[in-house]
């Protein structure tokens, strides 16, 4: 003979289990069906600081050229942070709707490391490289624009290395070499060739 209190206890537990199951099913069916949406907002927080006049080397796909362009950009105190903000200002231009050289949404400069003597390491995020258009000229314009913008505003830099998500990558999107260090003097000559014909 099963004690009465034990029967009541088991029944109560069964009811609770069924109720919890129904609640779980209700919650899971109420959850949104779509997957997570990629967050394309910039990783870094907006910088507050005095605006300074800088020179950006901007790529123009239509004519396949690079043009120097002045801009007022709020720059922080630290040398590395200034370099990062400089390149982020360049990327904002490229991510704008009226971009002369569109980059994929979510493209971002993760960090810039300045290593003495004269070495700058630009760390891009994977969205930058994975979503970049493929082609010799289009990739060359991107690389030259980044390196030259950094070098124009930091005359001490003479070599530049580009990483993607902190790792070395063979090419940007199948063409522009990212496995070697860029010699700024050689990039200057390349940029001269990419100036509009006189």
């Amino acid at each position: 003979m099963i004690p009465r209190h034990l029967t009541i206890g088991v029944c109560v537990m069964l009811v609770v289990a069924v109720a919890m199951g129904l609640y779980l099913w209700h919650m899971s069916s109420a959850a949104p069906a779509e997957g997570p949406v990629a967050d394309t907002r910039p990783v870094a927080a907006p910088v507050s600081g005095n605006s300074e006049h800088v020179t950006l080397c901007v790529a123009y796909d239509d004519s396949g050229v690079l043009l120097s362009q002045g801009a007022d950009v709020p720059l922080p105190e630290g040398r590395q942070q200034r370099a990062e903000e400089l390149l982020r200002a360049l990327l904002r231009l490229y991510l704008d709707k009226a971009s002369p050289h569109p980059l994929s949404a979510g493209s971002e400069v993760r960090s810039v490391y300045l290593v003495d003597p004269g070495l700058a390491v630009i760390d891009l995020n994977s969205a930058f490289a994975d979503g970049h258009r493929s082609g010799v000229l289009v990739e060359e314009l991107t690389v030259a624009s980044l390196v030259e913008t950094l070098a124009l505003n930091n005359p001490d830099i003479n070599r530049v290395k580009i990483l993607v998500d902190g790792k070395e990558r063979e090419t940007l999107a199948g063409h522009a070499d990212l496995s070697n260090f860029y010699d700024v003097a050689a990039v200057n000559q390349m940029v001269e060739q990419l100036q509009p014909a006189q």
Binding site: V136, L137, D177, A186, Q189, M190
Partner: protein, 474 residues
């Protein structure tokens, strides 16, 4: 009795059909054929038998797993599964691996990438015709009609060849079973001759075949150590006799090595036989991308890798037509790493390396020379890998300017630039890269034959004009 015979015939029929289908493998080590087996409606080939003539190979069966070791490379397959592990890396085959009495069978369709990974070098696989070319063994040819009496078709090969030659009414057939002859720029060649108007290249069942069309009976003769086949009409036909309706007797080519003696029926006297030496290619033409690496999407249907291959084949034909032996680094939809391209090009010691790209941006042709990266220093006689191009830059730039001028003569927009584009900086020879854009900005005429011909003609003309300087820098 009749039923028994029918059953026997039915059982034998598939194996007989299998026996007729084979794959031809060409390499520097050996040239051989293997039977193709039909399993589950797909074509298979034994991997151990395939690798055996190429090097030291051993296989081991552990239950469903089959391990094979070739020289220093190791690969592992599992019966009934399409995933293989080669040198610790995963490779997915298009069909299951089969294990039959310890014999490992791999799908024929997987051979190109599979062999490339196991052998660690370039492998060109013509799947439809079942021909595998391992390394730079391809034999290229050019064909031209010499304007003399009787009209003569001169076919020059980059290495000695030994085809089976037969004739049919209106045709002379050259079948290359043991020679890795590959297609010229176009499969259908036309000549400015009424007597020998055309020739067709085709591949089938492991054999390449060149069919020369003519209204007259043709005869072939060999010269130049088996590198030249001269085809002309028979004397009676050349003297104006009506073409014979009965086919002439089939001819078999003389052996390529040692130097063949020309058949007595030869119309043109054979040239002195030359010793069989490896061909030294003047130009290396490199069609960028290939295999899984599609390059830029030029149109929704057109990938950069396909356009570069078409241009590369046309450029090779154009260069060879001007007497400059040229080699394609890839002659099919196969993948090569940038290092492999540089190694193969440097090993060939060419006078010039020409890399082909295509991109939708802008118009015309952009001609690139290498942007030399920072650092790198030669060590005595050893060149630094990343800056090997440095001392060749002046001649590379001179070639790029010459090409720009030639292109502009034909009203094609041309621009000379520097680019951080590997493997240009690794090449120890004059090296340039071309990025072909549409003829007008926003256009899509990448596959226009006329546009392609205009470009390759200009490029070849520039190379010819720079020949002396390129030879001097070799």
């Amino acid at each position: 009795m009749a039923c028994c015979l029918l059953l026997l015939f039915t059982l034998l029929l598939p194996s007989a059909a299998d026996d007729d289908r084979h794959i031809s493998v060409y390499s520097n080590a050996a040239t051989y054929t293997l039977p193709v087996l039909s399993r589950e409606g797909k074509d298979y080939v034994g991997l151990l038998e395939l690798l055996d003539p190429l090097g030291a190979v051993s296989a081991q069966t552990e239950g469903r797993r089959w391990k094979i070791r070739y020289n220093r490379s190791a690969a592992e397959f599992t019966a009934g599964e399409s995933r293989a592990h080669i040198e610790g890396r995963v490779y997915d085959m298009p069909a299951h691996f089969l294990l039959e009495n310890g014999r490992g069978l791999v799908p024929l369709a997987s051979l190109g990438p599979l062999l490339s990974r196991i052998l660690g070098g370039p492998v060109t696989f013509h799947e439809v015709s079942r021909r595998v070319l391992i390394g730079s063994v391809a034999i290229h040819f050019t064909a031209q009609v010499a304007k003399r009496e009787p009209p003569t078709l001169v076919v020059n090969f980059s290495s000695p060849v030994n085809p089976m030659i037969s004739t049919e009414p209106g045709k002379l057939l050259m079948s290359f079973t043991r020679d890795p002859v590959v297609a010229p720029g176009s499969d259908f060649l036309t000549f400015d001759s009424k007597e020998i108007p055309s020739a067709r290249y085709e591949e089938n069942n492991g054999t390449a075949r060149v069919t020369v069309n003519s209204g007259l009976p043709l005869f072939a003769s060999f010269s130049n150590g088996g590198r030249t086949i001269t085809i002309s009409s028979a004397p009676q036909a050349a003297s104006g006799a009506a073409p014979s309706s009965s086919p002439p007797a089939a001819q078999s080519a003389p052996p390529a090595q040692p130097a063949p003696a020309a058949p007595s029926s030869a119309v043109s006297p054979p040239a002195p036989a030359l010793p069989a030496v490896p061909v030294r290619f003047f130009a290396i033409v490199d069609a960028s991308h290939g295999g899984d690496e599609r390059g830029a999407a030029l149109t929704p249907q057109l990938a950069e890798k396909d356009v570069t291959l078409d241009f590369a084949r046309a450029l090779r034909q154009q260069l060879q037509g001007q007497g400059l032996p040229a080699l394609l680094l890839r002659d099919s939809d196969s993948a090569l790493t940038l290092d492999q391209r540089a190694i193969l090009a440097n090993r060939a010691h060419p006078a010039i390396y020409i890399c082909l790209h295509a991109g939708p941006l802008g118009a015309g042709v952009r001609i690139y020379t290498a942007l030399i990266p920072a650092g790198g220093k030669d060590n005595g006689p050893f060149r630094d890998w990343n800056t090997a191009q440095a001392s060749f830059l002046p001649v590379s730039r001179a070639v790029s300017i010459s090409m720009s001028e030639e292109l502009q003569k034909t009203h094609i927009l041309a621009r000379t630039l520097t680019a951080p584009l590997r493997p240009l900086n690794n090449i120890a020879a004059a090296a340039i890269a071309l990025e072909i854009a549409p003829s007008v900005s926003g256009g899509t005429d990448f596959d226009s034959i006329a546009y392609r011909q205009q470009i390759v003609s200009s490029v070849a003309a520039a190379v010819v004009s720079m020949r002396g300087q390129l030879e001097a820098g070799r």
